[in-house]
Symmetry: C2
Subunit: 469 residues, 2 copies
């Protein structure tokens, strides 16, 4: 069985914790694992999980590879989307790729990287049952008991003779009706299907999606790096795919769905409420999440996600506070889902706080933007032992580097030299340079950029051990 | 008439906007002026205001001088307290100093630097009336109509024959009773009195306060700098003063009080509510204060003080959000006064967020702590044109300086050289150094400190144009 992990989506409901470049799959849970890591471990817990196919945005590749490396998971095959086009094109590309490589009969298990399955044994049994239904030519969807009339997931309603009515994310009134009927399941997005079933159904119900995915795959570029295989879908062809969810493009139209009921500790982690529920409350039902301090007074049922700041909550009841380096969200819990709305509004205005956190992860480590000023920028870079940034140059910005922890190996034009803690160097615009960490502890570097243009796109890469040229 | 401005107090009720080193008088109001500046302008609006005497903490001296310089006010006489001992010792020191220099008959007007008088013409009339009462040997206190049973100020109750009962900051029940009586005024803290009256009354009701203040003054050190005269009270002698408010030490005990009723647009600025009230609300009664962005959705009557972060308020009603670099306060407005309590709790634990903001002001400009790490610190320094830091050395920390805006004149040991924007230098521990701004625009410098000890107290000053040696 081939497992497909769909790792995309902006997860704007969990903004400002999630960002375009740090979507929900990368959010860490109380045990320190991310949803992406948990999905990979879950996929590989299924006996017969021969290969893992990951579909993600090209901008998330390095981050995701690093997530999987952290949990000691080896090679996978990645289909990289040049841009997010919702789930239908991603599902199609995975099925096409699987059929080409393994034949149209290949058994497929689709998982999303942004939800949680608590009980792996129960999950294995559910997948076994779903796989049987898939074997009979159905699209087998795993559903769980609906616990509220929520509008953030689709619903499955079983009818006579195993027939299933599929309701894509409903409005509030429909959700109420479906929930009250007592016959509906939440659709988890976990799907078992033969590639040929899926491809045939998509050819019938959403041929344009299938065609664009196929064209993207045909003209895509393959590469192998660090034990992983990558296919970058062709940007132009893939851009022709309509941006549709698999729910709307196919599942709401096909008559081939079978529902498999699962009781496996599922959590969609699709709201602040469901994320908070993973943490145990303290006195007064308050929760202090994250690595910052929280001080509660006369407050109850209040959740504080704080980073490096002290949060004082006075007289709050049923509130949510999410503190990040550049955005602060304060909400009454029953309006917390409006975070998604706020995020989308800001994204339309290209607000930088929707794109990335101040700290961004790279294959070599991470950097934090400490001060963004018009004519200079201050960053702290952290390089893992053995890691190095690419050999690069900037046309318009100069960089000052000061080593504040560890040891650095600097290449500047034709010279290579070591910098110890408390030593510094200067890279003038137009000169090639690279810094690596030859030591055994993390290298921390303060970088002060100065120049008349400081955009991240002022970079020419010559060599990159992570293949980013 | 000699005007005394008492500029002290921690203003913990307005924490985290106010800090020990940035108390209420330094908070900027909507028109851009600080309370300290407004007090000085008010003091000097009185005809016959011959001299201004300022009593403040020695740590606030430079900051206060700068505040007054900003509004073009010239020389003043400063009495500097080595530590805050509440208002009674400060009031005593001012009266003693005034009596010695101008004779015991000197007419005195006491003002606090942390409240607001909107109507200067009305104020002048009130002072005239109060001065008359002072002339008759009374302690004339200016009271305003009580508008609520608040517990953060003292009350004046007029009795028969001009006699006044004085109630120091009452508990909630007493405040209710006083307010309901309809006969009580809030005490503004504005006082007219002859020095001799005050000194005689203090000698009778709080001789220990008077004695410690006198000893502190006797053994104090005088200096003149930049057109101002300073007396630093002797630390040891002044420390013997009991830490008492003038309300408790004298006003609650003496029978010499007269109340003068004023209607002069007074605002004690002694709560978040009174501070917010200075700003006009927008849609839904929400206020966005400070220079950050705020996004309101489904929110009403909510005040957001934000600095450089985006604040999204969802579904809030009657809330206060105060965002600062290192502390975030979120409160239901009716619990907002607990900020003072939270601040005091944290202060007991020597939490750094009670002492200063990440940005601190100095005579030469300001610095912002961008990253406090155990083994390195990153600061941004901004020097005004013509300003210079003191000639200094650090025993244990090294400093890297990078000029990112303007031009710097650096002295290092025996050499002096210029650094243009984008140039850098290095100051090794143990070497004397100074940086100045010889240019006409602000100099912005990134300083990376590195070493095994990075406390602010690792500094040896050799020369300082601001007299801080």
């Amino acid at each position: 069985m081939l497992t497909v992990i769909l790792c995309g989506g902006s997860g704007s409901r969990l903004w400002p914790l999630s960002r375009d470049l740090h979507p929900k799959p990368f959010i860490r849970l109380p045990d320190g694992e991310s949803l992406a890591q948990k999905s990979r471990l879950l996929a590989e817990s299924i006996a017969g999980g021969d290969e893992t196919l990951v579909v993600t945005n090209r901008l998330l590749e390095a981050k995701l590879v690093e997530e999987f490396r952290e949990i000691g998971r080896g090679s996978a095959r990645y289909i990289l989307e040049p841009e997010g086009r919702n789930t239908a094109p991603a599902v199609a590309a995975a099925a096409l790729d699987a059929a080409r490589r393994h034949g149209r009969n290949i058994r497929m298990l689709y998982l999303a990287a942004d939800h949680l399955v608590g009980n792996r044994a129960a999950f294995a049994k559910v997948v076994e049952a779903a796989d049987k239904a898939a074997d009979a030519g159905h699209i087998a969807l795993v559903g769980v008991d609906a616990k509220s009339p929520k509008t953030s997931c689709s619903y499955l309603e079983s009818g006579p003779a195993g027939k299933v009515a599929f309701y894509p994310k409903p409005g509030a009134a429909t959700a109420e009706r479906l929930f009250d009927s007592g016959r509906c399941l939440w659709n988890t997005g976990i799907m078992c299907v033969r590639a040929k079933t899926l491809l045939d159904q998509m050819a019938r119900h959403c041929p344009d999606v299938l065609q664009a995915a196929a064209a993207g795959l045909d003209a895509g570029r393959s590469a192998a790096r660090g034990g992983n295989a990558f296919v970058l879908l062709d940007p132009e062809n893939f851009a022709a795919a309509p941006s549709l969810s698999i729910d709307d493009a196919l599942l709401a139209k096909t008559g081939s769905i079978r529902a498999v009921h699962g009781d496996m500790g599922w959590n969609g982690v699709d709201s602040w409420e469901s994320l908070s529920a993973l943490y145990s409350p303290g006195d007064g039902g308050n929760r202090s999440l994250g690595d910052g301090e929280a001080l509660f007074r006369q407050s109850t049922n209040t959740d504080v996600f704080s980073h490096n700041r002290l949060v004082a909550a006075l007289g709050l009841d049923g509130h949510l506070v999410v503190d990040s380096d550049d955005v602060l969200l304060v909400a009454k819990k029953d309006r917390a889902d409006d975070a998604g709305l706020a995020c989308r509004l800001l994204r339309e205005n290209r607000h930088p706080a929707t794109r990335a956190h101040r700290t961004e992860f790279r294959p070599w480590g991470n950097f934090t933007l400490l001060e963004p000023a018009p004519r200079f920028k201050i960053k702290r870079l952290e390089l893992k032992p053995g890691a190095a940034i690419s050999l690069q140059l900037h046309r318009r910005r100069n960089e000052h580097w000061i080593v504040v922890e560890g040891i650095a190996e600097v290449t500047r034009d034709d010279e290579t030299f070591l910098l110890a803690t408390n030593e510094s160097t200067y890279i003038k615009a137009g000169h090639t340079h690279r810094v690596g960490n030859p030591g055994r502890i993390p290298l921390v570097l303060v970088e002060v950029q100065s120049g008349d243009y400081l955009g991240e796109d002022d970079i020419v890469r010559f060599e990159d051990v992570y293949g980013r040229i």
